[in-house]
Symmetry: C2
Subunit: 289 residues, 2 copies
C-alpha cells in the first residue's frame, strides 16, 4: 500500500513517537502508520502498555521519567508524538521521578490534581508542547480508525433513531460541563448519564436496573450514545467503544450503540462489529447538527 493523502492524515516524515498506554490501539495505530509509509517509534509506559508494542522500534519508560522521556525523543529525532491507549488516571504515587521529573514536580502535581480530566489532559499536552514536541491525534495518523457515518454493522438503527437524537441533544446540553459524554436513552427518555464512573459502569447500571425491575421495559430497546464534547481535545481524549462496550450493551438489553462519526474510535473494529452483528445490536456513526 502506498501513502495516500487522506483527509486529515499528516504527510509521512520523521518517525512519530507513539506514547503507548493500555490495549491494542497503539499496535493498530502503528500498523496503519507503516502502511502509510510513516515510521513510528513506540514509547511504552511500563505497567500500562501491551508488550506487543515490542514488534516495532520501541523503548520502555516509567511515568515520571520525564527527563528520560524527552531524551528518548531527541535521540530518535522525534518531533511529533501521539498519545494512545487506555489510561487510568495515575496518582502521584504511580510516578517514578527522575531529575527533570523532580525539578518539575510542583507543576506535575498541579497537572494531576487540578480540575477535571479535561483540564488535566490539556495541561499535559501544554507541558509537552512547551518543550517543542507537537502532539498529534489519531485522526492525523490513521483517520480510518475513527467511526464513519451511518450504519456500521449489519443491524439497522430503525425506530431507535429517535432515541439517538434525544441522546445527542442531551450530550449537547452537557457539553459546557467537564463530564463524560455518554448517556443511555430508552423510549425517548434518558435513563442514565455518565459521570466519573465511566461508560462501562453506566451501561452496567442500566443492565442492573432492568434485571431488578426498576426499569420495566420488554425486549431489546434503547441506545447508548457516545460523543465528544464540542471543545474536546481529541488528541488526548478520544471517545472510544470496543467489544466490551457491545457485550455490556447486550447485557443491558439495548438495541444498539451510537457514536459520533469522525470523533470516536472503534477499538478492535472488526471484532467489535462482528460481535454487534452476532448479538443483534446496531452500531451507528452520527454527526451532530
Amino acid at each position: 500500500m502506498t501513502a495516500v493523502a487522506q483527509t486529515g492524515r499528516v504527510a509521512p516524515g520523521k518517525p512519530i513517537g507513539v506514547l503507548c498506554f493500555g490495549g491494542d490501539l497503539p499496535v493498530e495505530l502503528a500498523a496503519r502508520a507503516l502502511q502509510a509509509n510513516q515510521p513510528v517509534f513506540m514509547v511504552g509506559f511500563r505497567g500500562f502498555a501491551n508488550p506487543a508494542i515490542e514488534t516495532y522500534p520501541h523503548v520502555w519508560v516509567k511515568l515520571g521519567q520525564i527527563g528520560r522521556f524527552f531524551r528518548v525523543l531527541r535521540q530518535n529525532a522525534i518531533e511529533r508524538i501521539v498519545i494512545v491507549g487506555a489510561l487510568t488516571r495515575p496518582s502521584v504515587r504511580d510516578l517514578s521521578l527522575d531529575w527533570l521529573g523532580l525539578w518539575d514536580l510542583p507543576r506535575i502535581i498541579r497537572m494531576l490534581r487540578a480540575g477535571g480530566d479535561d483540564s488535566t489532559l490539556r495541561r499535559v499536552v501544554g507541558y509537552i508542547e512547551d518543550r517543542g514536541v507537537s502532539v498529534l491525534g489519531v485522526s492525523d495518523i490513521a483517520p480510518e480508525l475513527l467511526a464513519g457515518e451511518g450504519q456500521l454493522g449489519r443491524v439497522a438503527v430503525g425506530a431507535e433513531q429517535e432515541n439517538v437524537a434525544v441522546g445527542l441533544a442531551l450530550l449537547d446540553a452537557l457539553s459546557p460541563f467537564d463530564i463524560g459524554q455518554a448517556c443511555i436513552v430508552l423510549d425517548r427518555r434518558p435513563v442514565a448519564v455518565e459521570g466519573v464512573e465511566g461508560t462501562d459502569a453506566m451501561i452496567r447500571r442500566v443492565a442492573e436496573l432492568r434485571s431488578n425491575g426498576r426499569l420495566r421495559v420488554k425486549g431489546s430497546r434503547g441506545v447508548m450514545v457516545k460523543a465528544a464534547k464540542r471543545d474536546q481535545d481529541l488528541r488526548v481524549d478520544l471517545p472510544t467503544i470496543g467489544p466490551r462496550t457491545i457485550e455490556l450493551a447486550a447485557e443491558a438489553k439495548l438495541a444498539g450503540v451510537a457514536v459520533e462519526a469522525g470523533k470516536a474510535l472503534i477499538a478492535d473494529r472488526a471484532e467489535t462489529l462482528k460481535l454487534a452483528d452476532r448479538l443483534g445490536l446496531f452500531v451507528v456513526g452520527v454527526r451532530r447538527v
Copy 2:
C-alpha cells in the same frame, strides 16, 4: 394555633383527601393541616402507606380500586386531594382492579406504560381532575414543609457555594429532558448525574468511587444538588431529601446538600437537620436565578 393565611396555603374548608403512599410525610402533612384548622381524610394505599395514618379519619384502598376510590371521596364530600409519600412505580400486576378500574383499563395501562415518570404522573393527575376532583400540592396545604432559602442547619456552605452553582447550572441544562433532577459536584466538576437509579443510588455510586480510589480527593468535599425541573408538576413529584440522604452524603464524604428553596421537601425535617449538624454536613436552600 389558629389558622393563619400563609403564602400559598389554601383557606381551610371541606376535608382534603390525603392519598397516602410510603413514609411519614402523609402523617406530617395531616398534623400541619389540622394545626391550620383544615380537616383531612386519609386514603391509605395498601402495601404503600404507613399504618400510622389510622390516627386520622381514614380508609384503606388498593391500587386499581378506582370505583371505590371515587366513591370514598364522594361519600366524604372531598373535592380536593393531595398525593403524598413515596411511590415506587407500580406495575400492571400491582393493580387490584374493580369495575371502574376494569372499564378504564386501557387508559390506565397507557398511563403506566407511557414515557417517563413525568408524563405518567401528569396523566394520573389529569385522570383524577377529569372526574371533578382538584389535585393540590404540599405547598397549598403546608408550605412550611418545603425547604426555605439559605443555610438550614448549623454548618455553613462556605466555599462549596461554587459547586452548588455548577450543580444548579447543570440541572438547568438537563431541565428539558425527562430525567431525575439531582447531581453531585466536586471541585467544580460534576461527578455524578441522576438517571432512573434515583438520588440514593447516585450518592452511593460516589461513595463507592471515593472508596475504590476512582475519585481521588481528600476530606469532605462536594455537594449533592437537588432541584425541580423548570416545568415539574410539584403536586405529584416533589424533590425530597430526608435523613437517609444525609447519611448517604456523609458516606460519600460530601460537604453538604443543596435543595431548591420552596420546591423541595425535607422529610422528617428536625431529624434530617440534626443528623446533618452531627455529621458536619451543610444543608442549604437555594433559588435559581
